[in-house]
């Protein structure tokens, strides 16, 4: 199953998805790290694909990574979410770390050793507002030290490095933040919160007190405000939406097979669920179009920092996240109506419980309430683009 010549990204992702599917129910029941799927991603060299070719990667574009998220999301949403979160972190390095020697060398290591990156942006006392920090990085000559009460570090104990936000110094305002890369042997994690949740159980998003020390070179050379606005938020909303789409696609596929099997058993009889499948297919198509349109918007804005920093762009990405997270619930609910008790029960070919539980995380991970509030503020000043194509 190793990556070889002629293997497209899609083929490699499909092999990972097959492994993820085998263990998805066990990962979910046990709320355990999907080690088989993540090992498969490493074996297929999927963790370094975003890195530029001169640093040992494959310079994969956001739409290619989104496609992989969708493929794996159809098998195991938790595995796909870990893959997405890793690539969201990696995008901060690729987009904002290429001018720094340390980060270039680190990207080479990520590609060569298939290192898994985790994120520590939330903090006790701040909640989910990742654009504010209480903790501050301490700089002492060439050494930097950080202690953070990180309420969530997804797969923290399994990661090979953590990208962590903090204030830029003891005197800095809460919004004056930096992001620093700490590698595994440079930090300790003291567990503070468990992860026994409704869904996305395999992401093991436990809470920790993080204590790390490293070189000041490991601090990303751009302010976190810039990283968040120019790549991280867009990448997060695009890759999350892609894997959520994957969950919905699999739910509709199951509903469709259910109706097809019933139609074969009773030829000539209109199946009661058939119209619901048609409706679900309609909603799925709208979601797909929205994601593809937003991927294009990001691709076109990527090289224009003014466009990336504009309110119009931020509103578009916020709308994608809110819309996608809401519509997948409707789509999966439709699939549930079609499959009935066979969808409601675990362990049938039409089971949808895991899909529905995983999908419920979408409106909460970065709360839609917070995002809508943020969009509402921007709409006080931003003028609506009234053209269809522009």
């Amino acid at each position: 199953m190793n990556a070889g010549a002629g293997n497209s990204l899609q083929q490699r992702a499909t092999r990972v998805a097959a492994i993820a599917a085998q263990f998805a129910d066990n990962v979910d029941t046990q709320a355990r790290f999907p080690r088989e799927a993540i090992s498969a991603m490493k074996a297929e060299h999927l963790l370094g694909i975003q890195i530029p070719a001169d640093l040992g990667g494959e310079a994969a574009q956001v739409e290619q990574i989104a496609e992989i998220c969708s493929i794996i999301g159809q098998s195991c949403a938790a595995s796909a979410m870990i893959f997405a979160m890793h690539h969201i972190k990696l995008s901060s390095l690729v987009e904002h770390g290429q001018s720094a020697q340390w980060h270039r060398a680190f990207m080479r290591r990520v590609a060569a050793e298939q290192l898994l990156l985790a994120s520590a942006t939330t903090e006790g006392g701040i909640g989910g507002d990742l654009r504010n920090s209480i903790c501050a990085i301490e700089i002492d000559g060439d050494v930097c030290r950080l202690e953070k009460n990180a309420t969530v570090i997804s797969y923290g104990t399994e990661a090979d490095a953590i990208l962590i936000t903090s204030r830029s110094g003891a005197e800095a305002a809460s919004s004056d933040q930096v992001m620093t890369v700490f590698v595994k042997d440079q930090y300790t994690l003291e567990k503070t919160n468990g992860w026994d949740t409704l869904g996305m159980r395999g992401t093991c998003s436990e809470g920790f007190v993080f204590r790390g020390a490293g070189s000041t070179e490991q601090i990303l050379p751009h302010p976190f405000a810039e990283i968040a606005a120019q790549s991280m938020l867009a990448m997060a909303h695009l890759l999350w939406s892609a894997l959520w789409y994957g969950i919905a696609v699999d739910a509709v596929t199951r509903a469709q097979s259910f109706v097809r099997a019933a139609a074969k058993r009773a030829p000539g009889v209109q199946q009661p669920g058939a119209l619901r499948v048609a409706e679900a297919s309609n909603m799925l198509q709208m979601l797909k179009s929205e994601i593809v349109a937003c991927l294009n918007t990001y691709r076109h804005a990527k090289d224009d920092s003014d466009k990336l920093a504009s309110m119009g762009f931020a509103i578009t990405m916020n709308n994608l996240k809110v819309g996608a997270s809401q519509s997948i619930l409707q789509i999966i609910n439709h699939a549930m109506l079609v499959c009935g008790i066979m969808g409601y029960k675990n362990g049938t070919p039409y089971s949808l419980g895991r899909h529905l539980r995983d999908a419920n995380s979408a409106q909460l991970m970065v709360s839609n309430e917070r995002i809508l509030g943020n969009t509402a503020t921007m709409l006080l000043i931003h003028k609506q683009n009234t053209s269809l194509l522009g």
């Binding site: 809460s174 606005a229 920093a309 309110m311």
Partner: protein, 83 residues
């Protein structure tokens, strides 16, 4: 104009420090300007100078410092004159 901007900043900026202590070039976001407060500031400026910010000016850069706001307002006023 500088004074008018400073007056609005003091009123709606919600900064943890006094506006007099902030230089014209200082990064307002680093000084603690939240995105909500920056929108309130934009609304105040639209009202005060009777202008409208088009999307090209609605970004962090246009509002990064008092000087940047001045430049943005001047550019819009000039555009309006030319039009």
């Amino acid at each position: 104009m500088n004074e008018a901007i400073r007056e609005l900043l003091a009123k709606v900026g919600g900064l943890p420090v006094a506006v007099e202590q902030i230089s014209d070039e200082e990064d307002l976001y680093n000084a603690g300007l939240s995105s909500f407060a920056s929108v309130q500031l934009m609304l105040g400026i639209e009202d005060r100078f009777d202008i409208e910010f088009s999307d090209q000016f609605l970004n962090r850069k246009s509002f990064a410092s008092i000087k940047a706001i001045e430049r943005t307002v001047e550019a819009i006023l000039k555009n309006n004159e030319d039009a």
